[in-house]
Amino acid sequence: MADVLRVVHYLNAFFGGVGGEAEAHTPVSVHPGALGPGRLLEQALAGQGQVVATLMCGDGYFADQEEAVVEHVQAHWQTLKPDVFIAGPAFRSGRYGLACGRLCLEAERLKIPAVTGMHVENPGSDLYRPEHLYIIATEASAVGMRPALERMAALAIKRGRCQPIGTAAEEGFLSRAVRRTVHTGTPAAIRAVDMALKKWRGEPYISELTVETFEVIPPAPPLSDPSKALVALVTEAGLVRKGNPDRLPAAAATHWASYHVGGMDRLVAGEWDAVHGGYDNTAALQDPNRVVPLDALRELERDGVIGKLLDDVFVTVGNMGSLNAMKRIGAEIAAMLVQRGVQAVVLPAT
C-alpha cells in the first residue's frame, strides 16, 4: 500500500472550538492531530492520509496580522513537512475564505499541494481562483460540512499522490482559470453545429467554455470643458519606439512603457514599431498615426478643441493578456495619469 499522506489542516478558531469573543483574536497555534471537523476529514481520508497537525487561527487575527500569520504557518510547514495542506472549508465566511486562499497560495508556492473549500460567493473565491488554486465548491453553511470534506479529501489524495485530476465539474472544485486542451475525437465544427441545433430546438446543451463576467466599473463623469483639459493617449496596441527598447512582448504582457511625444506633430513612419502579435502591423508601420492618432490630436490641440495633449503616451500589448496582469498594468498607468493631472484618456485598441 502506498505511503500514508501527511496532511496539515488549517481551521479558524471558531471551528477549532474556541468560542465567544476570544475566537476572532486567537493567534496562530498548532495542535497535534485533528481538531473539530478535522476528525471528519480524517475519516474521509480513509487511511490514505493522516492529519498530523492542525493549525488554528482566529479570522480577526489573520485579517490584522496576515503577513505575520503567513510567516508562522510557513515555519510550521518547515517542521511538519506536510505532503498536502488542507484549509477550511470556509463556506461563506469571508475572512476565513481569504485566510484559506492566502495560505493555500503560500503552500503552492512552496510546492506543497493545497486544497481548500468555500462557497462560490465567498470573497476568497473571487480573489484566489485566478491564482489557479483548487477550491472545492461548498454549500453556504456548515450544513454542507460532510460532503465538502469528502470532496476535499478525495482531491487532496489525488494531488498528494500526483494522480490525474478531472475537470472542475467532475471533482467538484470551482473553475480555476486553467484551460486544458482535450481531444474529443469530434471536430469542433461538428460539435459547434450540434450545439447550435440543440440550442435552436430548446434542448439542454453544455457550453464548452463559459463566458467570464467582468466587474462593473461606474463611468467617470464627462469632461465639462475639453478646451481646458489635459488629454493623454494610452494604448494596448503595442506601438513602441523602433527597436522595442522596453522589450514589450508580442503577447501576455506583464509590463508597460511610456514614450515621449512632446514636440512631435505626428508619429513618423520608421521611428515606431508595432509589436502586438494579434494584428497585421503593415498599416500601422506605414503610418503609426493610424493606431495612435497623434497627428489629429495635435491638430485639436492647436485649434483649441482640447487644452493640451500629454507629452508621453503609455503603451502595453493587450494580446492574450491575463486579466490580472492587465488590471495591474491599468492601475499603474492610471496612477501615473492621476499624478500628472490627466483629465481624459483616448485609448486606441486593436
Binding site: D280, L300, P348
Partner: protein, 76 residues
C-alpha cells in the same frame, strides 16, 4: 472619481462585454484610427472626424457601456 476614458476599437461587442463605458467604433482592428483604402488626405480628414467623435464621447455623460459611431464606419 475616475478619469473619463474612451476606447477606440472596431470590436465594440467585446468592449461592451468587458465593461468599457465609452466606446467609439470605427476603422478595422489593425488600424482603429486608419482608413488606408482612402487617399491620404481623405484618410486624415476621416481620422480627424474620428478623433472629434472620441472627444464628443468624453464629454457625454453615460450610465453604462455606450457605443458612439463614427459616420460611415466600416465594421469588420
Amino acid at each position: 472619481m475616475g478619469i473619463p476614458t474612451v476606447l477606440a476599437t472596431c470590436l465594440y461587442t467585446v468592449a461592451t462585454r468587458v465593461g468599457a463605458n465609452r466606446i467609439v467604433r470605427g476603422g478595422r482592428f489593425h488600424h482603429p484610427f486608419g482608413a488606408p483604402e482612402k487617399p491620404q488626405a481623405e484618410e486624415y480628414v476621416w481620422r480627424r472626424k474620428f478623433v472629434e467623435q472620441t472627444m464628443h464621447a468624453l464629454c457625454t455623460p453615460v450610465q453604462q457601456p455606450t457605443v458612439f459611431d463614427v459616420e460611415d464606419a466600416v465594421l469588420v
